[in-house]
């Protein structure tokens, strides 16, 4: 799928601001993910062309960072932190409840394609409001089973926060791309 014109323009504009166009790799990957929901090898090839850099460089960078997705996911992204400060406030119980209510395992997408959820050991920066999760990068703090219920209910019908995610993403629940680096 070729990149949309505004995405190409955005990448060019970003690249022009940096003293080195290589610095625009991460912004370019964000722009692509924003448009398409994930980053394919083909779009990395396009980024390479726009920036005049070897495709291997784009792939090397993209594979290091855990937030770039290699395949489509649900319309909404739900991440719940289970690191120690959150664990102390009951994050394990909330993560278990979330999984149970969604009916899919950690890292999977609900059958209706609405929500992909996973637990993370990476602190999300809201320990003061633990247990917490990020819903499409927005903080939901002081979670209770009731709050989780109402968030899920909202997400089931809400459209994706930006850019249409391909419909095929919705079809099946399957393990998500591994988020760890290396």
């Amino acid at each position: 799928m070729a990149l949309a014109k505004p995405t190409v323009e955005e990448i060019k504009t970003r690249a022009a601001r940096y003293p080195s166009r290589q610095s625009a790799i991460i912004p370019a990957l964000w722009a692509v993910q924003h448009e398409q929901g994930y980053v394919t090898k083909e779009s990395m090839g396009e980024i390479a062309q726009i920036l005049g850099l070897p495709p291997s460089l784009i792939e090397a960078t993209a594979s290091f960072y855990s937030m770039f997705l290699a395949r489509p996911e649900g319309r909404h992204d739900v991440v719940i932190c289970v690191n120690a400060p959150c664990m102390l406030r009951g994050a394990d119980e909330m993560a278990a409840y979330l999984g149970q209510q969604l009916g899919v395992r950690d890292g999977e997408t609900t059958k209706d394609g609405a929500i992909t959820w996973h637990s993370t050991i990476e602190c999300l920066g809201a320990c003061g409001g633990a247990p917490m999760m990020q819903v499409d990068h927005h903080f939901e703090e002081n979670l209770t089973p009731e709050r989780i219920d109402s968030i899920i209910e909202r997400l089931r019908t809400e459209p994706a926060p930006h850019g249409p995610k391909p419909e095929k993403a919705a079809a099946v629940a399957r393990p998500r791309a591994k988020r760890t680096q290396n």
Binding site: R17, I25, F64, Y65, A84, L88, E122, C127, T180, N182
Partner: protein, 428 residues
């Protein structure tokens, strides 16, 4: 001592994130005053104030600035907003509430070091905070605080907001610079330090969000005013992020030297559910655990170090008597394993094996001798890894073994986690 809102003093003001409101609270007066000064005077002022970096290492900010070699241009300022230390959420708070305060600090620092292009490296997870900074930069540009000729004073400055994409290691300054250059975020060898050869091989200063947020206040009120707060070697205030088993978790800005007891018992409302304090951890995931006997230690870089831990990035994780210290350490070790960049063997392999051993303890599959095996792996990482991430991965677990070795042995003898069993029995 006690609560001392300097950075947070106007945080109750509604719409403080808007330029006009920020200006009404005295915003950008510091930058205007700075532009009337010579850059060297500013460096001296910050040196004299005694401000130390708030990112974790506590290096004197003015000294860091003065390491830039004379006459080498361009030079860059990078504001480190890659806050990812588990337990820390102060930079997020400072950006959310007052993005202009952070930006004003960046402008002052840039002017002081003679830089015309500054960067803010913000972690990918902080999307709303990214948006807050983005609109602040735009507003400031419209108002003439950024541009080719700032406020008609002939100074040129632009700020680029750069979003990371999920890598704790990029909070380490050399890894941050590598990432900003578009590469995998792996740390670089020091020396050369960034001040000599940093971003794009040019002299670079990396300052934390909270550090730069102090600058407008120092410029306006002077070095003596700043120096009058805090302790002789820890001037000013710090925003402490308190989490875990307290009644009122959250951010508290306290004068340096305030006793830890006051933070936890008074501001945090004490340990929750009328339980007893078991341990607490200043500084974030990396830092060594402290015990109730350390409650009267002051919140200050040097005092906490003397007590056997480190103040780091200003987190305070409180643990009550029901906490499984083995599981707490297990989470942190897993975190470091997940975040190890893989560049050096001690960290990449060591965190993997520590993580495996901790899983065995928690699952009741460990042997008593595995405690010493953990220590052994810890010694093989600490001081032998390429950057502080590896070293720091061992500090908390080793301190837990030092103070709570019995808990590890109980996991062995009970063939599982005694605290989980207790919790289950309490429910049943």
């Amino acid at each position: 001592m006690g609560l001392k809102p300097v950075l947070t003093k106007d945080f109750h003001t509604e719409n403080l994130e808007q330029l006009s409101v920020y200006e009404r609270t005295g915003g950008y007066a510091g930058f205007k005053k700075a532009l009337e000064m010579q850059p060297d005077e500013l460096v001296e002022l910050v040196k004299k104030s005694g401000l130390r970096g708030r990112g974790g290492a506590g290096f004197p900010t003015g000294n860091k600035w003065s390491f830039l070699p004379k006459g080498v241009y361009p030079r860059y300022l990078v504001c480190n907003a890659d806050e990812s230390e588990p337990g820390c959420f102060k930079d997020r708070y400072l950006i959310e509430k007052s993005p202009h305060q952070v930006l004003e600090g960046i402008l002052i620092a840039s002017y002081a070091i003679g830089c015309n292009l500054a960067f803010i490296y913000i972690r990918g997870e902080y999307l709303p905070q990214h948006e807050a900074l983005e609109s602040a930069i735009e507003e400031a540009r419209q108002a003439g605080y950024l541009g080719k000729n700032v406020l008609g004073k002939g100074y040129e400055i632009d700020v680029i907001l750069h979003r990371g994409a999920g890598a704790y290691i990029c909070g380490e300054e050399t890894a941050l610079l590598t990432s900003l250059e578009g590469y995998r975020g792996e740390p670089r060898l020091k020396p050369p330090f960034p001040a000599i050869k940093g971003l794009y091989g040019k002299p670079t200063v990396v300052n934390n969000v909270e550090t730069v947020a102090n600058l407008p206040h120092i410029v306006i009120n002077g070095a003596d005013w700043f120096g009058a707060m805090g302790t002789p070697t820890g001037k000013g205030t710090r925003v402490w992020c308190m989490s875990g088993h307290v009644n009122r978790p959250g951010n508290y800005e306290l004068e340096n030297g305030t006793p830890i007891r006051e933070l936890i018992e008074e501001h945090g409302g004490g340990v929750w559910k009328n339980r007893k304090l078991k341990a607490f951890q200043p500084g974030g995931a990396s830092m060594m655990v402290l015990l109730p006997e350390h409650l009267d230690v002051g919140l200050d870089f040097d005092a906490i170090q003397k007590a056997g831990s480190l103040a780091g990035a200003g987190a305070m994780v409180v643990m009550d008597e029901t906490t499984c210290m083995v599981d707490a350490a297990r989470r942190y070790v897993k975190f470091f394993h997940h975040e190890s960049c893989g560049k050096c063997t001690p960290c990449r392999e060591g965190t993997f094996w520590m993580s495996n051993l901790f899983d065995r303890f928690e699952a009741g599959e460990a042997k008593a001798t595995d405690v010493d095996l953990l220590l052994d792996i810890g010694y093989s990482i600490d001081g032998r890894s390429f950057c502080p991430l590896g070293d720091a991965s061992t500090w908390f677990p080793r301190s837990v073994i030092k103070f709570f070795r019995d808990e590890f042995l109980e996991h062995v003898s009970e063939k599982g986690c005694p605290f989980k069993k207790m919790a289950q029995e309490a429910v049943a």
